[in-house]
Symmetry: C2
Subunit: 413 residues, 2 copies
C-alpha cells in the first residue's frame, strides 16, 4: 500500500474545529487507499506561550530544558489529533519523536536527524492505524529530548516520508502553494505547478517563507516528492521535486524581494592573500551571518569589498568592522540599511543567454539604480534602494511574465 505523509502546521490545528478539518483531509486520503502518517506542529500560539512562561522564570533558559518544555506542544496536538480521528470512526495512534526513535545529534534547539525507526510506524500502519507523529522533536542517544529548530515539523515530515519511502509528503499550510513571487507585492503572481528543489532552496533562503530550507535539502537528498498545499481549500498546490525536462524551458521560475538587510562596504582594502579570510573570521567570531559577498578590484593593489547581512546584525557587524580596520586596514567603511535585494531564480537560467540583460533592463526602464549585483548558477540578485524595491520587483515579474503559469509564457509576446 502506498504511504502518504501529511504535515499540518500550527495554524492548521489551532483549535478543535481546525483539527477536525485536518482529520477530514487524512480520512480522504485513507479512503483513496493510502496508509497515512500525520505530522503536526504545536497548536496556534502554544509554543509562544511556553516560551513566555520560560522567559518569565529565566531570561536565558537552558537549551536542554527549552527542548524538554517546547516538545510538549506537538505531543499535545498529536494525541488530540488521534482522539479526533477516533471520534470520526478511524483507528489512530500518536507518537512522540522519542517513541518512533527519531534519533538526532545532541545539539539542543537545532538538532539534526540521524535516523528513524521506520519499523515502529510500519507496524502500526500495517495494523490499519493512522499514525500521528509529533513534529519538530527527537531524542539524542541519551534519551534527552531535542528539537529541530525553525521549520522543524516540515523536516520531521520529509524525514519520515524518506524513511517510509512515502509516495508523497503533503505540507498543509495557510497558502495554497508556491507563487512566482510574493502576491502581497505583485498581485498578479501565478501559482507554480512544480518547482525544483534547487529553485525552492534559493527562494526559501531568500525569504519566500513557505518552507524552511532544511526540509527542502532533506527532500532533495532523499528524493521526497513534496506537495505544498492549502489546509483550507481543496486545490492542488505546488510540487517540489527534482528537475523535470519541461522545467528547462522556463528561464525564470520566481522572483523574490528581501528587505530586512544591510550592506557594509570596505573601500580600499589591501588586495593581498589572507585579508578576506581575516575579515570574515572577525565577523564569524561576532556571530554575524553573512549573506552575499561582492568584491571588486579597484586597482592592482586595492579592492572594494561589500557584504550583506541581516539588518539586526548591523550594530554587531559595525563593531567587528572596527576591529577589521585595525587588523587589515582599509580607506573607508560604508554601511547602508536602506537597501533591498531583488532576485530572479530559475534552473533554466544556466542554459539561457540574455537573462541578466533582461533583468537589468527591466530595472533600468523603471529608472531604478542597481547598487550591487551578485549571481549563482540559478539566481541573479540586484541590490537596490529600499524605496524602489517593490516597484523593481514588479518590473522584473512583468519582464519574465511571472503573472502567467509557466507553460503559457512567451506565447503572447
Amino acid at each position: 500500500m502506498a504511504i502518504l505523509v501529511q504535515k499540518f502546521g500550527g495554524t492548521s490545528v489551532a483549535d478543535a474545529e481546525k483539527i477536525r478539518r485536518a482529520a477530514g483531509r487524512v480520512i480522504e486520503a485513507v479512503k483513496k487507499g493510502y496508509q497515512v502518517v500525520v505530522v503536526a506542529s504545536a497548536r496556534g500560539h502554544q509554543t509562544d506561550e511556553l516560551i513566555a512562561d520560560a522567559l518569565e522564570l529565566n531570561p536565558n533558559p537552558s537549551k536542554r530544558e527549552m527542548d524538554q518544555l517546547l516538545s510538549t506542544g506537538e505531543q499535545q496536538t498529536v494525541s488530540l489529533f488521534a482522539m479526533a480521528l477516533h471520534a470520526m470512526g478511524y483507528d489512530a495512534i500518536s507518537f512522540t519523536g522519542g517513541q518512533i526513535r527519531m534519533l538526532t545529534d545532541g545539539v539542543y534547539t537545532k538538532a539534526r536527524i540521524m535516523s528513524i525507526d521506520a519499523s515502529r510506524i510500519h507496524k502500526q500502519l500495517d495494523s490499519g492505524k493512522i499514525v500521528t507523529v509529533a513534529g519538530f522533536q527527537g531524542i539524542d542517544e541519551n534519551e534527552n529530548i531535542t528539537t529541530l529548530g525553525r521549520g522543524g515539523s516540515d523536516t520531521t515530515a520529509v524525514a519520515i516520508a524518506a524513511a517510509l519511502k512515502a509516495e508523497e509528503c503533503e505540507i498543509y499550510t495557510d497558502v495554497d502553494g508556491v507563487y512566482t513571487t510574493d502576491p502581497r507585492i505583485f498581485k498578479k503572481a501565478a501559482k507554480m505547478k512544480q518547482i525544483s528543489y534547487d529553485e525552492m532552496l534559493e527562494l526559501a533562503s531568500l525569504g519566500a517563507g513557505v518552507m524552511h530550507s532544511r526540509s527542502i535539502e532533506f527532500g532533495k537528498k532523499y528524493n521526497v516528492k513534496i506537495h505544498v498545499r492549502s489546509s483550507s481549500e481543496q486545490t492542488e498546490g505546488t510540487i517540489i521535486t527534482h528537475e523535470v525536462p519541461q522545467m528547462e524551458g522556463v528561464v525564470v521560475s520566481g522572483a523574490t524581494i528581501q528587505k530586512d538587510m544591510a550592506k557594509i562596504t570596505l573601500i580600499g582594502v589591501d588586495n593581498k592573500p589572507g585579508n578576506a579570510a581575516k575579515i570574515f573570521a572577525h565577523l564569524a567570531r561576532a556571530k554575524v551571518v553573512v549573506n552575499d559577498i561582492i568584491q571588486t578590484e579597484v586597482s592592482g593593489a586595492k579592492a572594494n569589498l561589500s557584504f550583506t547581512i541581516g539588518i539586526s546584525d548591523l550594530p554587531t557587524a559595525k563593531e567587528a568592522v572596527e576591529e577589521i580596520k585595525k587588523e587589515v586596514g582599509c580607506e573607508k567603511v560604508l554601511a547602508r540599511d536602506d537597501i533591498a535585494e531583488i532576485s530572479a531564480v530559475g534552473v533554466g537560467m544556466r542554459n539561457h543567454y540574455g537573462v541578466a540583460e533582461k533583468l537589468f533592463g527591466s530595472l533600468a526602464n523603471a529608472k531604478i539604480n542597481i547598487d550591487a549585483i551578485t549571481t549563482s548558477e540559478i539566481r541573479i540578485s540586484c541590490i537596490v534602494d529600499k524605496k524602489d524595491a517593490e516597484r523593481g520587483l514588479e518590473a522584473v515579474c512583468t519582464a519574465f511574465e511571472l503573472d502567467k503559469p509557466a507553460e503559457k509564457r512567451g506565447k503572447t509576446k
Copy 2:
C-alpha cells in the same frame, strides 16, 4: 550524602512566582547538605484544560491518548522548575517519567509502578545537580506513556524516595499537615505531629483528602518516611511513618466524616452459602465499588445485608439489585442516600477497652441515632442521618479530645 525528595502539587507550582517559591524550598534543603529530587505536578488548572480540549474532540477519548496528552502538563512544570533553579544559581536537570525509566504496567490512566532506574537519578545527583522529575507518569514496556491516576504525583514521589533510599519524602501541599479531623467542620481540630501509615490509610480512604491511599501504601511497603507540610508556611507538618511506641498511648488519632455515600439494604435474604458471593459478583459486574458490608442474621434462615457505596453509583447499584433479587431472592430492598458515616481511627484502639462505648455514648448524648455500625482493627464507623453528621463529628471529636495535640490528652479531665 542524604537524599531528600520534595513533591509540589499543582497549586504550589501554579505560576512563575509559586515555582520560584517552591525552588526556594529546594535550595534551603540543598544548603542543609541534601541531594534533592523534586517531583512536580502539572501547573494549576493545566490538566483540567487539557481534559476539556480532549472532550471537545472526543466525548470518550482513548485512555492511551489521554495519558499521552496529560503527561505533558508535568513535563512542562519540571522543565520550567529546572529553569527557575538555574536562574537562582543552582544546577538542575529535568526528567520525564520515561527518561528515568519509571516502568509501569500497561493500564492507561491508572498504571501501577513496576520499577525505577535509580542509577539515572543518582548519576545526576552525584554530579551536583538538583533533579526535577515529572510526577504522575511512567512508560510501559513498549514505551507507551502511562499515568498513575489520582494522587499519582504523590505516588511518584514516594516511589522515587523508596528507590533512592531517601531520608524523607516531603509532600508540599496547601494544608500544613494532617489534622485530627476536618478543620472546616470542627474548628478546634489539632494538627498531628505524626501518624502511622495504617491510620493514614484509614483516614485517606475515608476521605481526609490530604494524600491518596496508594502513595501511603507505597510508603508503608517500602518504609518511606513521608512529611506532609505547607508550601506557603515555614512550619513543621505531619510525619507519616511506622508505628512508634508512644503512638499506642493515643487511643483515637483522628475522626472523619464521609457524606457522598448511599446505603442499600436487602431485607430477608436466604442465608445460605454462596448468596453473598452472588450478590457482590452482580455489583462488581456493574462496576459498583462497595465500601462497607454489614450483615446481620435475623433468623436461622434469613439475614439482612447492607452495603455502602458512593452516591454516584446508586442508580447503577439499584439496577444491579433488581438482578440480584431475581437470582438470590429477598423480601425487600431499602435504599438511602440521606446518610453519612462518622469514623474514629487510631492504632491505640486495638489495645484499649471502652472506645466503642465512648463513641456511641457521645452520639447518644447528642441525641443522634446510629443506623449501622462497622469496625476494623483500628477504626469504628457509625452510619447516621446526613443532617446529624457534622454535629455528630463534633461530639466524637470532643469526646476523644481531638482539639488537643496527642501528648496533652487525658490530662485535664
